[in-house]
């Protein structure tokens, strides 16, 4: 059984300008979204208090809001979380409010005025200085990861491929962030982890294609750069699709069965891997080609001994 069975290399690079322009358009609109709507930062980043409580029966959100307003938390955001019995209450940071006591105060107001059987699931309080640090650390992690990859791929391959890979990764990350901005999904710490994991996954995909491009360049001596890249993508396409498929399979399971806390994580990776698969095939190689990648760039400069193994120097 085989997903694709090409006898001839498919001409992927014929559409390179289309792919590049579609990607540029998507990246630009994502950046626009991020600039105008921004991200719906979660508690981890904004600071504040989140209280999750479980009701014995379906919760009446209007009643919960009334009780909270009565207790002096008029700006509390109340919503269902995962099921009709779980309620999430968010209270933003406020001047002069005893934040650290908030959880117990709210809980006792609810149990006294609505139902003594309401149970606390979790209370999270994050101070204002923590969130700012996290945003910085997260951004830093992204940058360091991209730089590390840029350096490694340049060392192992070539700078045009390296730039293509990193731009493709940036593309994946920006589009995923754009999705979160468009749908105003909550961006919390697990989503940040997902975005970073996405980088790990997507680079994996890209490197496999690059590896084959390098090999094809050495093997197909008479072909043009475009033909060679087409050949490499075609021969790795089965692998690219199958690995994406198995990963998407487990992510779908995670999305549907992992519970509300892990929803954002699964969403980010599901979308990111779809985009990442496309970008590994198209964006990374297309950019390298546009930058003028030639056969000579990937030939080993030192004279290899004839009959030596095909293994690449590690």
């Amino acid at each position: 059984m085989q997903v694709f069975n090409f006898t001839q290399p498919a001409n992927f690079m014929r559409y390179k300008w289309l792919a590049v322009s579609v990607s540029v358009l998507l990246v630009l609109s994502s950046l626009m979204l991020l600039a105008t709507r921004g991200l719906n930062w979660g508690l981890d980043f904004t600071g504040g208090t989140v209280i999750e409580v479980a009701f014995q029966q379906a919760a009446n959100l209007v009643q919960v809001r009334e009780v909270l307003a009565g207790a002096g938390y008029a700006d509390a955001v109340v919503q269902l979380f995962g099921s009709s019995q779980d309620v999430l209450i968010r209270i933003p940071l406020q001047q002069g409010l005893a934040q650290t006591q908030l959880g117990s105060t709210v809980l006792s107001a609810l149990t006294q005025q609505i139902d003594p059987l309401i149970s606390m699931q979790r209370i999270e309080f994050v101070g204002p200085s923590v969130g700012a640090g996290l945003k910085q650390d997260g951004g830093l992690a992204l940058l360091v990861a991209l730089l590390g990859i840029l350096l490694y791929v340049t060392l192992r391959f070539e700078w045009r491929l390296s730039l293509g890979a990193v731009l493709a990764l940036g593309h994946d990350v920006i589009l995923t962030l754009g999705l979160f901005s468009l749908l105003q999904l909550e961006f919390d710490l697990t989503v940040l982890a997902a975005v970073l994991a996405l980088i790990g996954y997507s680079i994996n995909d890209t490197i496999v294609v690059f590896d084959r491009i390098r090999e094809s360049f050495r093997k197909l001596r008479d072909s043009s750069a475009e033909e060679t890249i087409n050949h490499a993508i075609t021969t790795t396409l089965n692998r690219t699709v199958i690995t994406s498929l198995t990963t998407l399979l487990v992510l779908l399971v995670l999305f549907y069965m992992g519970g509300a806390l892990i929803h954002g994580f699964a969403t980010a990776l599901l979308f990111g891997i779809l985009v990442g698969t496309y970008s590994s095939v198209y964006v990374a190689s297309a950019i390298a080609l546009v930058l003028g990648l030639t056969r000579e760039d990937l030939l080993v400069p030192v004279i290899e001994k004839e009959g030596a193994t095909n293994d690449l120097p590690l």
Binding site: E124, T190, V253, I262, D311, L314
Partner: protein
């Protein structure tokens, strides 16, 4: 012939997998909900108390699975959390405050596994319930305290060395002391005195020629901050032990932060009170020469400071602190000969010497105990954090009857409850610098259970999906890949159980799920390559050999970059993100091992080294 295994390779791989399997085994035994009961004040629970407690349980009709007495701690195992919670309420009512109960999860590892050190994975708070705090140490206050101490010490030393000075002023924010002297000669002799004392001080002369500036070096300030942090961590550990939590974590994070995790604790208010209390005690002599009325009018002498007693009376104390609470090694409450509550205090060697020296010529004078407490006020600093205010009051003052030594008593307390509270605060130690809570997360036990259930479900169903897919797509080789995938999960779980610091959190579980999806990648690469080689017309054995060989370079390259990302994630991330990074990184390593090495061995065993016409791939 190609594709034959060497015996030592097979042996090594099999024994490695067996080892991982053994260490992964304890995770199959679900942990019991348990209640640990310990006695405070270093007391121990005897077999007698054990019998008593089990009788109380019987009377209340609460089924208990097992009672174990270990290191003076009693561990009660229950079949379900309901019985566990019932027992806790029961004991909180019936036991007096000399006992502390704590909810915990006791691993039910069989004895033979426990003996070889095999333990189940540690579960994060999001999976087992509990409280998590992120605390920040107020370094400014620590620095200020240090500068004040230094100021006092210098005054004494200058007096002893007959160096005449006009004033010593501390500028805590700049970590600088300004010492104004009488003459240039005094300046010179002070300089030589100080340069002998500590070479790290940066000494410079002010323009007027008689003022010496003493600046703490960066190195000293760093050491000071380190010490403040380390000491606070030690003290917090002691306090956490006072609460009686099973497996608490008190850990530093970064330059000035401390993480405290208390699994099983539900009452965050009590935990916060105990952690946040930054009480300390100072002992000072009462200044009786100066005029109290004048001081109240604002003319406080330079060597004195105005305080208030508990009932609001003003009192003048010497500015010099004779002794601080961090020299206290033990404190206990009791009654004096008149039946009044008192606190007996024991000091360490240095504290004893300090007090002994301080009270040598002070018989007949009065000594005051000042209680200092930092509390968060409603006011906010620029960055939005609560401003800490220092509250101090004189709890008592008593005439020194003789030269004091390593142990002495404080009397004049209003009640025995207060004596007890003071003693426990002193015993837990004084925080060298005040702390504040930056972050607090508490997760109820039911949510933890729910998260475990969801995580396990996701892992098993995700795995099932991948196993099925591989079998359908690659047939015989798919089966081999599936064996490798199962081995991968066993290896991963075994490793996570073996690494002491690793805890499994919900994102960590997500990492395992993701690993399952990605682990087959190496096999897909290899198998696709073998297919290619076959269709290029190579013989079966050559195709297998070349397939593995060529795919390996790709696998190595692509996984090194992913590993790079995981390492960066680990280095920069905190808490749950770190957990995710660990599972991701370990997953990459184990998947290379199983997907490349293990499958090769199996493939060689089945198809290798003999004449095969076609492959089931």
């Amino acid at each position: 012939m190609l594709n034959k295994n060497s015996t030592w390779q097979v042996c090594m791989v099999i024994s490695l997998l067996l080892l991982a399997l053994i260490y992964a085994l304890p995770n199959l035994y679900p942990a019991d909900p348990a209640l640990s009961i310990s006695a405070t004040r270093g007391a121990k629970i005897s077999e007698q108390t054990q019998a008593q407690l089990s009788q109380t349980l019987q009377q209340a009709n609460i089924p208990v699975k097992a009672l174990q007495l270990q290191d003076g701690q009693l561990l009660l195992r229950f079949a379900d959390t309901e019985a566990q919670l019932q027992a806790q309420t029961l004991f909180n009512k019936t036991l007096d405050h000399n006992y502390v109960t704590a909810l915990s999860l006791a691993p039910a590892t069989p004895a033979w596994l426990a003996r070889i050190g095999a333990t189940p994975m540690k579960l994060g708070l999001d999976l087992r319930g509990g409280v998590h705090f992120l605390l920040a140490v107020d370094m400014q206050a620590a620095q200020q305290k240090h500068m004040n101490d230094l100021q006092q010490r210098l005054r004494v030393e200058m007096r002893q060395a007959d160096i005449r000075y006009r004033s010593v002023q501390a500028d805590p924010t700049d970590a600088q002391l300004q010492i104004a002297l009488r003459s240039a000669a005094d300046l010179a002799s002070l300089e030589s005195l100080l340069s002998k004392r500590d070479r790290q001080w940066l000494l410079s002369r002010a323009d007027d020629g008689v003022t010496l500036l003493l600046q703490l070096s960066e190195l000293q300030l760093k050491a000071l901050r380190e010490e403040a942090l380390e000491q606070n961590i030690t003290i917090l550990r002691n306090r956490v032990n006072e609460i009686g939590v099973a497996e608490p974590i008190v850990q530093r994070q970064g330059a000035d932060r401390i993480i405290v995790q208390l699994p099983g604790v539900q009452d965050t208010a009590q935990a916060k009170e105990i952690l946040g209390a930054t009480a300390s005690l100072e002992f000072r002599l009462v200044n009786t020469q100066a005029d109290l009325a004048a001081a109240l009018a604002g003319r406080v002498p330079a060597d004195a400071e105005l305080f208030q007693t508990r009932d609001g009376q003003p009192i003048l104390l010497e500015k010099r602190i004779m002794l601080t609470g961090d020299r206290i090694t033990d404190a206990s409450s009791g009654y004096d000969e008149y039946g009044m509550p008192q606190v007996s205090i024991m000091l360490d060697a240095q504290g004893g010497e300090l007090l002994s020296a301080g009270t040598k010529n002070a018989t007949g004078r009065r000594m005051a105990s000042v209680f200092v407490e930092y509390k968060a006020s409603a006011e906010r600093a620029e960055d939005g954090s609560a401003v800490l205010i220092k509250q101090q009051e004189v709890i008592n003052d008593a005439t020194i009857r003789m030269r004091l030594g390593h142990s002495f008593q404080i009397t004049g307390l209003s009640s025995s409850a207060e004596a007890q509270q003071l003693a426990s605060l002193l015993r837990a130690g004084a925080l060298i610098a005040p702390i504040q809570i930056l972050e607090e997360r508490s997760i109820g036990p039911s949510l933890g259970q729910e998260n475990i259930k969801l995580g396990m479900q996701a892992i098993s169903f995700g795995m099932l999906a991948v196993l099925l897919f591989m079998l359908v797509y690659y047939k015989g080789f798919g089966l081999v890949a599936n064996v490798a995938l199962l081995a991968n999960v066993v290896l991963l779980v075994g490793l996570l159980s073996m690494i002491p610091g690793a805890t499994l959190s919900l994102p960590g579980m997500a990492g395992i799920v993701l690993t399952v999806g990605m682990a087959v990648d190496a096999n897909v690469l290899i198998f696709e390559r073998i297919r290619e080689e076959l269709s290029a017309g190579r013989s079966v054995q050559q195709a297998i050999h070349e397939g593995y060989d060529r795919a390996f370079a790709t696998i190595a390259d692509s996984n090194i970059t992913t590993l790079l990302v995981a390492l960066i994630l680990f280095g920069i991330g905190t808490g749950p993100v770190k957990g995710f990074a660990i599972t991701l990184a370990l997953g990459i390593l184990t998947s290379i091992f199983t997907a490349v090495l293990c499958t090769r061995l199996i493939v060689n065993m089945i198809w290798g080294g003999r004449r095969v016409q076609s492959l089931s791939i």
